[in-house]
């Protein structure tokens, strides 16, 4: 499975996650966001970029609780809460945001 943008192909798994993290780029993120029915704003990108940094540092996609706490630490308490993150990503910040960020599905995602 996969999709194609401007002649570049992206491979995805059966749940729509990118198979190869290195293939990710902004175009892929925009495509995945449309698939998830998420309209990307500055605030969305902030979370996406945060997730990519987190993955780069730790080689895992964080669980929601961990993501929330870490965002609070980095971007401020008004953003480090599940209400804020669920407003941006209604179907689950970890799952949806991770997918758009090109990360694997979070471990321990319940």
């Amino acid at each position: 499975m996969g999709f194609e943008i401007n002649g570049k192909t992206y491979e995805t798994d059966e749940e729509g996650y990118l198979v190869n993290l290195a293939e990710w780029d902004e175009e892929a993120a925009k495509y995945l966001a449309v698939e998830e029915k998420v309209e990307m704003t500055e605030s969305h990108w902030e979370v996406i970029n945060f997730l990519r940094e987190y993955y780069n540092d730790y080689q895992i996609a964080p669980a929601v609780r961990v993501l929330t706490k870490a965002i609070g630490k980095k971007l401020g308490p008004e953003k480090g809460n599940s209400k804020y993150l669920y407003e941006l990503f209604p179907y689950g910040p970890a799952k949806q945001a991770c997918k758009i960020a090109g990360l694997p599905k979070p471990t321990g995602c319940i």
């Binding site: 540092d57 730790y58 080689q59 895992i60 964080p62 669980a63 609780r65 961990v66 706490k69 870490a70 471990t107 321990g108 319940i110």
Partner: protein, 135 residues
């Protein structure tokens, strides 16, 4: 101390009981799937707010070794993930002293802060656990 798989039992007493879980890691990080599987279980266990300790002994101490280069064996270097454990509120990491000594390692060679225990201290730690899982 009981040996158990933990998960099934936990469903039944979810009434806020906090149990002491120890995960013992004794195998080298690559070559078998044990180290990675253990880490996954530990990350999942964090969702259940249990009292989790990680123990590294024998070749398991290599899991925490700095500077792992895995490209040649075609596996992902997952050692940075041990540094994420703190964010999951898993902060009790213990390493067995003689295992370090025998391999010429010191805590400075490890990617995370650990507490070094001798075998008597390790035995005492394991004695006070409710569940011990060995990988």
């Amino acid at each position: 101390m009981t040996e158990s798989t933990g998960g099934i039992e936990m469903e039944e007493d979810m009434s806020g009981t906090v149990k002491k879980f120890a995960f013992i890691n004794r195998k080298a990080p690559y070559g078998t799937i044990y180290a990675l599987e253990s880490l996954e279980v530990v990350l999942i266990s964090a969702a259940f707010d249990q009292d989790v300790s990680l123990v590294f002994a024998d070749d398991g101490v290599y899991q925490l070794k700095k500077g792992q280069a895995t490209k040649a064996v075609g596996m992902k270097n997952f050692s940075p993930t041990y540094r994420a454990l703190e964010g999951y509120d898993i902060e009790k990491l213990y390493v067995e002293k003689s295992s370090l000594d025998e391999r010429g390692l010191t805590p400075d060679d490890l990617i995370v802060d650990v507490e070094v225990l001798d075998s008597a201290e390790m035995a005492a730690l394991l004695e006070e656990q409710d569940v011990v899982m060995s990988f």
